[in-house]
């Protein structure tokens, strides 16, 4: 895992001091809210329904036990004993006082963490594959490239007042577990054959996003040699900073620029800027990537049993559902579900965080991940230790065996916390997961990704749900639109709306109905999404409105 050196630490400390000064000037009246807002946002501090909300960055979703313990301490000391893990691999605290914010940032800095650029019209926290460094199918570990980008994008002098927020994801396998093509820039690290066994480079996708006009990012460059990685990113950003729309905030994301110019023309401009920047020389020295990569060397895996004792059916089910193939065959990655049936997706108490931190220390080389599905992950668990890990998780209410099932719902905070919301998201997630758990249908239905957003901003990825639910305001009453057929994975697609919306009870019944249609129509081995793609929208519409 990456460790700060004195320079990194000094940068974060400087930011804490700068923010302390800004908060002081706000409280003394030297800054108006209009002036202070962009500054607090650049430090992840929002004003939400009930209080200030602090979003803490978890760069590419990786953290260690000491860091998770600090997140637990912060939840207890400054908040109300819990935090909310988000689809961008961050954590949010909902009950923060402005007066405490600088102290919290100082506490975070003690464990090499920060809230820098988790909001505002700047380059946000870089996200990545949660199985990075562990997955059997990755070309390389994508995190060194993400860390290189983190440093490049932190306090970037030119790109702090972009037209709009800018989100980057970096992956390194054919499988996409980071919704890469739904980001402003998506990067896939690839290898191409050469004489010395493979040259590493980066594929660039640009102009993806969700929100009110969801778009899938087109490929703009098939291979950027890795020694020009940052230069190419800089060129992409500069073209966007200069020509992205600033007249209308709903058209300001890069996806609109790429769409309006056309991918070919945007690419042409990027290539021109790239050629220019190559002559200027903005790339970090080559040794820097090697230095960073050394931090991500494999831990010392040891051989061991490759199978588990399946005599306990609850354990066996959890192993089948919640573990993922590891590059070392005596290990697996173990998903810790934050989706107990009837629970709030992504919420974890301080106590739960401490349990997970302890398990990471004991069983996973002190490493943890936050998944974009709002779950936690122990990346490197020996198969021999799996039963012990499961027992401890079970005792803490963290062993729901439901990864990628209909209980594994992504839900944004919605109207329970968010000032932009039209409708609540969390109660729907609670009721749907409870219902499917009770009727035992979760297992029957298998993989089904349900995603809920409380408004058109799409923080809950509803456009990319096999089933998506969007909260809308119907004359002051909560109403929900259902959509089908989205995917955030390598088979990326955008969901289509089924028809008129439903009230809360109605949309829950509708979810059951569409799963009925699937169960009645599915061919051998088909997931919900496959069946939908084969039979189309009509049969579902018929069942819902017919």
């Amino acid at each position: 895992m990456y460790k700060y050196d004195l320079y990194d630490q000094a940068m974060v400390d400087a930011r804490v001091a700068e923010f302390r000064d800004q908060a002081r000037r706000r409280l003394e009246g030297k800054l108006t809210e209009d002036q202070f807002k962009p500054l607090r946002l650049m430090n992840g501090l929002y004003l939400q329904l009930h209080a200030y909300m602090l979003r803490v960055a978890i760069p590419y979703g990786t953290l260690d036990s000491r860091q998770l313990e600090m997140l637990a301490d912060i939840a207890e000391r400054y908040d109300r004993g819990y935090g909310h893990f988000t689809t961008r691999q961050n954590i949010q605290y909902n009950w923060i006082r402005l007066e405490d914010a600088a102290d919290i940032l100082a506490d975070l800095a003690k464990v090499e963490m920060h809230a820098i650029q988790t909001s505002g019209n700047c380059i946000r926290n870089i996200s990545s594959d949660h199985f990075a460094g562990a997955a059997a199918d990755e070309v390389v570990d994508p995190r060194p490239y993400a860390e290189l980008m983190r440093q490049w994008s932190s306090f970037h002098p030119e790109f702090t007042y972009l037209p709009r927020k800018f989100k980057i994801a970096v992956i390194a396998s054919d499988k996409d577990r980071a919704a890469m093509r739904l980001h402003d820039i998506g990067v896939r690290i690839v290898k191409r054959a050469n004489d010395s066994g493979g040259e590493v480079g980066a594929q660039f996708y640009a102009g993806g996003g969700m929100g009110r006009t969801p778009m899938i990012a087109p490929l703009i460059r098939d291979f950027v040699p890795i020694e020009h990685f940052i230069t190419y990113a800089e060129a992409c950003l500069r073209v966007y900073n200069r020509y992205g729309r600033r007249d209308n905030k709903y058209k300001a994301r890069i996806k609109i620029l790429v769409h309006e110019l056309g991918a070919a023309e945007y690419t042409r401009q990027v290539e021109e800027e790239f050629a220019h920047l190559l002559s200027v020389g903005v790339e970090p020295p080559r040794e820097e990537l090697a230095r960073i990569a050394a931090h991500f060397a494999d831990p010392a895996f040891i051989d061991g049993p490759k199978t588990v004792d399946r005599s306990d059916p609850d354990f066996a089910l959890w192993v089948d559902r919640n573990t993922h193939r590891h590059k070392h065959d005596a290990y697996v990655s173990a998903v810790i579900s934050l989706k107990p049936a009837g629970g709030i997706p992504g919420d974890a108490t301080a106590e739960q965080m401490r349990v997970v931190a302890r398990l990471a220390k004991q069983y996973s080389f002190d490493e943890l991940r936050v998944m974009h599905t709002q779950n936690l992950l122990l990346p490197h668990v020996r198969i021999a230790d799996l039963h012990a890990v499961w027992s401890a998780l079970d005792a803490a209410g963290l062993a729901a065996p439901n990864m990628d099932t209909i209980e594994d719902i992504i839900a944004c905070p919605g109207l329970d916390y968010c000032s932009l919301a039209n409708a609540r998201s969390i109660p729907l997630a609670q009721r749907i997961s409870e219902r499917f758990a009770e009727t035992g249908r979760t297992e029957v239905v298998g993989e089904l990704k349900l995603k809920i957003s409380g408004c058109i901003n799409a923080c809950g990825h509803h456009h990319a749900g096999h089933i998506g639910i969007l909260g809308v305001d119907k004359k002051g009453v909560e109403n929900y639109q259902l959509s089908l057929g989205g995917s955030e994975a390598e088979d990326v697609s955008l969901a289509k709306i089924t028809g008129p919306g439903f009230d809360e009870d109605g949309v829950i019944a509708a979810v059951e109905k569409v799963t009925d249609v699937y169960l009645a129509s599915r061919a051998e081995g088909e997931r919900f999404l496959d069946t939908y793609r084969r039979i189309g929208m009509e049969p579902f519409k018929e069942a819902l409105y017919g």
Partner: protein
């Protein structure tokens, strides 16, 4: 009636204008009639409240103040999914009218 709400600058807590200051309890909110804009400007300039705004509300038979919009009703009580964290209020029927 028209009432005023915002968030406390320092703590971020949801607050309601009670005629002379800002209260944590929606039931303390008073009708400001035509004076909304003037009070808002003065209070924000004095940094006693952050991004305050005026909303429509009514008073029920038991004297409880009920904001018209669902968003402000959620603000008045707290997240509906964490009732253990609700703003302490005398209004025991509060959750019945939030949604």
């Amino acid at each position: 009636m028209k009432i005023l709400t915002g968030n406390d600058l320092r703590s971020g807590a949801v607050v309601w204008w009670n005629g002379s200051g800002w209260s944590l309890f929606v039931d303390d909110a008073v009708d400001v009639g035509e004076d909304a804009a003037e009070i808002l400007a003065r209070e924000e300039a004095a940094r006693r409240v952050n991004v305050p705004y005026a909303i429509e509300a009514s008073i029920d038979a038991d004297g409880h103040v009920r904001p018209a919009h669902i968003k402000d009703r959620v603000r008045a009580l707290g997240p509906t999914v964490r009732r253990d964290l609700a703003v302490p209020t005398a209004d025991k029927t509060g959750w019945d009218w939030v949604i």
